[in-house]
Subunit: 380 residues, 2 copies
Amino acid sequence: MNDAYIVGVDMIKFGRFPEKTVPEIGAESALLALDDCGLTIQDMQALYCGNLGQASAMVGQRLLQQIGQTGIPVVNVSNACATGATAFREAWASVKAGLYDCVLAVGVEQMGKGLLGGSGGATGISKEGLLGSGTMPAVFAEAGMEHTNLYGTTFEQFAKVSVKNHHHSTMNPKAMYQIETPLDTVMNSEMISYPNTKLMCSVNVDGSAAAVICSEEKAKELGLMKRAVKVRASVLTSDPWQERDLVMPDVNSCTRKASAEAYEMAGLGPDEIDLVELHDCFATAEILHYENLGLCEKGEAGKLIDDGEVELGGRIPVNVSGGLLSKGHPLGATGIANIYEVTTHLRGEAGQRQVEGARIGMTHVIGLGSACGIHILEKT
Amino acid sequence: MNDAYIVGVDMIKFGRFPEKTVPEIGAESALLALDDCGLTIQDMQALYCGNLGQASAMVGQRLLQQIGQTGIPVVNVSNACATGATAFREAWASVKAGLYDCVLAVGVEQMGKGLLGGSGGATGISKEGLLGSGTMPAVFAEAGMEHTNLYGTTFEQFAKVSVKNHHHSTMNPKAMYQIETPLDTVMNSEMISYPNTKLMCSVNVDGSAAAVICSEEKAKELGLMKRAVKVRASVLTSDPWQERDLVMPDVNSCTRKASAEAYEMAGLGPDEIDLVELHDCFATAEILHYENLGLCEKGEAGKLIDDGEVELGGRIPVNVSGGLLSKGHPLGATGIANIYEVTTHLRGEAGQRQVEGARIGMTHVIGLGSACGIHILEKT
């Protein structure tokens, strides 16, 4: 199989853009990613577009109406919060298949107000679907409490996740917020569903992110290997209905299955990972995923945050972008925004928040219902 | 690149199933396709699911809840009327990429009443999207009239398409209707938008179709090569904004680009095609696509239908399944239902409607907005 490389990647600063259309928001990051590697839409042989809110409405094709209708294949994908990661993975697979040697992946979302879309959020989500249930704060709260019951994880430990991620975001100009939130501020903000306060819930924002993926041969031909990042593993799983936790079984077992497969595909273990962008849709989720991704042993997640190991400068920095809690969580864009963040570190271009010496990084997203996408990326 | 083969394929009899859910309708064809090759969901390494009406609602994962949650990757795709073909193509690409050697593609749709969904049709279609505009009968009528203005194509010639496809459907037990419609019946049925009468518009039905795709090595290992069909070409295009017709430029130029690419990928020309399942969403569309697919010269489409060349028994039978006009058009399922039809003929299993000696067949779908999917399949 061909190796596939990320040669261009970028995201827009997340925010709220009610005056724009979804394709317009997506086109902005597409142009940024193309500009990042000095290519144009004429160089792209296919477009893989991830969007949730208008999943049936040809978002990819309408995006091309903004930046150039070259007649290339457009594949519109949707996979809950793993939508962007799925679009990226289909793009990657097309290069692996030898179908194309240079393709574009875009993730985009225009969110409504409220928590994670809720019932008044993104349009087009079926009542039958899981995303409109409005129960996400409750189920992620329950999952956190299960961890508390099993391992004694404290409210303060959960809250520290938010303090850390908000601190990280002060160094990320593309994050929605760049504001320090001290521990007492986090713990005393409005209680949404115990133990998650308002500052422990991800931020509803509009956004997009995009990546240009090339075969090794093409990247070399274009002289783009210097800043290229290799995709060592790309994994997607659904709920395996096994090793079931009491609550959120899909989120947990789905992630554990995906991380095991990703480490196997990359031929490495968690010890070799230098930074992780994981799915902190709620502070409680980040705690669970430390263990699901093998960053620590079962039951050790509280200690990991207490010891500062997951902070910038620590053993394994997590969500140095600010994460979904402060950078924001535009559902369909998040998967590729994570890939942008890790790539930027592997290139040594992350400025003030740079993870020094980063060589290998991991991205993780999980969509309820369920889909877990994990990518392991390596500096070339 | 690995060669990829269809080893199992089937569809449900199209109909109206308001009492069922979308995943239930999809699961039925998935089980039929698995049964067709004697495999189970445990043998599948990934699922590619195409659906339009609930594109954001994890239809693939919910389908697995019906037939077995094995934790495999699920990719949900949407591409207007090319949705099923896109799901099939992503499945095919995953095998070409060497990611998997046995995968499942499913297309499913539960339609509302009325013409092609219209504004009261499938749920979840954004108002911004092109599918809710309700103008399809009008634009396909205009496209037909453009052909009339350029080449003198007659109302009777357009109507003959419907007579032919309804006749074919009398031999297809899985078609929604199996009723002869004589020429005067077609021409005198309710006028929807001249020159398309009601019997010249595709039938709104619920349905699903599924295919199992294997690598050559895996198909041999499983002893499935005898009934296997090789995918010679798989092409997807979007509107290339070139060679523009006065009306429906996307449908026409998109199809012409796709067919040129498909013939090149397969290394053959229209003369070598033994049967075609093309996108007769309206009778006028079938006339346009005879030329777009190179089955005849420009302006010769009327003559092609007059001379009976596209009938069963003719030079190049088109829509022997009954087509969208009589078999029915469940949007997300149509692309894979076409693949089922052609595969069935290449296997010599099409019974009364068998195209004798069929060795190579073509499927074509076109979604407004736009996406054209073409597959060329070959008997092994």
